[in-house]
Symmetry: C2
Subunit: 504 residues, 2 copies
Amino acid sequence: MISSDYSTLHLKKLGIDTYTEPVIYLRRDSYICRSEGWTAEARVKVSHNGNSLIATLNTVETDLLRRNEASLSTYAWNFLKAKEGDEIKISHPKALDSLSFIRSKVFENRLTAEQMNLIIKDIVEGNLSDIHIAMFLTALAGKGLNQEETLNLTSAMINSGRILSWPADLVVDKHCVGGLPGNRTTLILVPIVAAFGLMIPKTSSRAITSPAGTADTMEVFAPVNLDLATMKRVVKHENACIAWGGSISLSPADDLLIRVERSMNLDSEGQMVASILSKKISAGSNHLVIDIPIGPTAKIRTLEQAKKLKSTLEAVSKAFSLKLTTIFSDGFQPIGRGIGPALEARDVLAVLKNEKNAPQDLMDHALDLAGAVIEFSPDVKQGTGKTIAKEILISGKAYKKFVAICEMQGGMFEIPIAKYRHTITAKVAGTITAVNNRNLAQLAKLAGAPIFKTSGVDFLVKLGMRVSKGQPLFTIHANAQGELDYAFSFLELGHKVVTIEEEI
Amino acid sequence: MISSDYSTLHLKKLGIDTYTEPVIYLRRDSYICRSEGWTAEARVKVSHNGNSLIATLNTVETDLLRRNEASLSTYAWNFLKAKEGDEIKISHPKALDSLSFIRSKVFENRLTAEQMNLIIKDIVEGNLSDIHIAMFLTALAGKGLNQEETLNLTSAMINSGRILSWPADLVVDKHCVGGLPGNRTTLILVPIVAAFGLMIPKTSSRAITSPAGTADTMEVFAPVNLDLATMKRVVKHENACIAWGGSISLSPADDLLIRVERSMNLDSEGQMVASILSKKISAGSNHLVIDIPIGPTAKIRTLEQAKKLKSTLEAVSKAFSLKLTTIFSDGFQPIGRGIGPALEARDVLAVLKNEKNAPQDLMDHALDLAGAVIEFSPDVKQGTGKTIAKEILISGKAYKKFVAICEMQGGMFEIPIAKYRHTITAKVAGTITAVNNRNLAQLAKLAGAPIFKTSGVDFLVKLGMRVSKGQPLFTIHANAQGELDYAFSFLELGHKVVTIEEEI
């Protein structure tokens, strides 16, 4: 037997967060590293109380650790449910079949359902490194997946986590591919659809790279970290909820893939389809409206690309008996005025309360989508959904339903407003000819969004609008003078948000 | 201006080695992380005294660091020549063009020379992460590189580092694709060729995943960490040296690519060709013999694959005016008896000293390759090289030259022998029908090779050999009783090294 002196170590918490890459920290001069010949970046199997994962080795050459101690990155620590001082066993990992399948995909072979399942299982169980996942995602993007493989990937991802079920025949959902800044239609659509009488147990994401995700904006009104029991109770009472999807384990493989993909910035149609549909099917939906904004700064840039995506979405949905409506929309301009959780929440509330100055583009787009969802109802004639949605909004029923949902989730909070604000005005008179959405989002993030709810940008103009000299263009909202300065310095460094063509 | 309070931090050494992935450690609740919205795995530009690189963020949630402190992984620390307490500035990195080119390669576009240069430059300057490099390597393997791209990659890799030049028209070199265990022909070939009168300034690698690299074995005899001045002095005196290539900066991009590739285990012909030729051309060689062992456990498995590789090697070599001879050899069995630095050194010395029990296969293969190198000489008739090489070996001139080289490098040391040994004998009489080279290498590594020079395995049998019950099969050599037990336990766990077919 391998002596426990060498391979058994005691855990010490260093509290280093490497995101979802499992890392083990060992002294470089520990007996196990020396005898195994392990150097930094070796892959090491870590076992603890019957659980195990494969971690990447980082070696330590200082007194952070003793020779009989080891530490784990936050993800690995939580994955193994470790406690300070616990014993772990470390060993050489076995060769992984899933790695051979990934290599086979790189060399243009098709993957079977079983192979896809094993790859996804090894990703979720922490056996493949970021480098392996990057290799997998590149192979998917390069060679592409055919429809059968996309189906297999979707199915493997659904099976990697929990699958919810709801006490209704018709469970509806909505998704937007590549959101535009300020595009918070979900918070308007959900109460309309629920007030109409359909069940819509909505799970949303937090911001990954944007100034606010739907879950971040909803959190301005009410808690979104709902456990499954709470989620079910809210849906039972109100036909709907708006929860953060991360708090229940739906398609965990998708989260792990997206995390690596984020730094690759590679689009793969097959993986996008599997990502969207696995999340929705896991969430127990059987009717889904997908909004595909098309525009130069949106995820989908051409009508041709949108049509191809639609066709794959439809084929895969059909195999899972998911009824699908796809809507192509204008993805050229930001929607609404606020950018950042509290400012977007303010826009949502203005629409729900039928306020005069509510952003019309946000209202109109939300009604389009809500109408499409309502048309899933067998009692509704095609083409009449939007009218029904509008009636529900105008009548105040949607607002009432929204308040009820928020209260059931533990809200309904007042929308806070930032203490520190700075308005940028037009230096010349003229016409707005360009808006740099990327810099706009960056500015909102520098001001503190989404971490600080009140931070962000209130954007006061639209493309094509004429402005006079000194007219306000946008206001930066921040939590502290320091943050305001920090965001402002971004503009001072020459980053443009709005282009004004002067009148001559 | 962005206030220096937020983005200027003081360095604290944590001494964490992440191999060549640059990592920056910041407190999760530091002002810069909060205001930038940075979480673990963000890419962060780190500037220090006019140098900079892009590092991956790992956040720390304990008192390892204070809020105004940062730490760097060993690679980043050395890259930036940082010292404890130094100030660094951190900021958002700009979008990298090289990343767009890599993505373009994923989608089957051809890369121009300029694009390839920029990718390699960003890899060497520490601007691309492991995930980006994995994406690049996958694209090379999947889509493949055509000859022009292979040429461009080779050229970019040569330009990424130093290029040596030597005071001779004919500078020869030798390379083996996918070494077999124990295959230490270089240490025999170099003194033969130098004694013949050709200049052979040899740079070799240390073990990456094997129990010994040529540099590890040479180090048993003499120092191999030569600086360039020493290397030049040795070559001036003896026409040759055997140095570790890592101590002079030749094709540093290659080292960085290989490091990521190691954990992907993906073969890409174009990248292999660029890797081999960039190293040799940087080292100043203009005549090269390449040994391609073909066999089921070798890197090249079929004659067809070998021929294709040969053709690409020849085309690219021609463009760089490098004269090339390719030799296909039998890659089925290990060569020599010893596995591990000191045991391989013993085999090498036995051949050089014409000892009776010297491994004949090692001698013969070394002579084949030395003969091919000697035939680069304009005075030598084709087909007579091996005979000349043999004469030099038998005459003792090669041994004398080897001693002279070692002494010039600061040797010639006695070969040490392990204190702890354990011999495994045949449990039954019969014929050796299989040798598991992978398990054999693993056993040598568990015994401590290449970290401990004397550790390894002395392999006493050959395929097809008849053995009687109780006959020694192999001896494990180790530095300590504990290591011997550790290696032995690997066999006890059921890992086979030798298969004996019993006689019935």
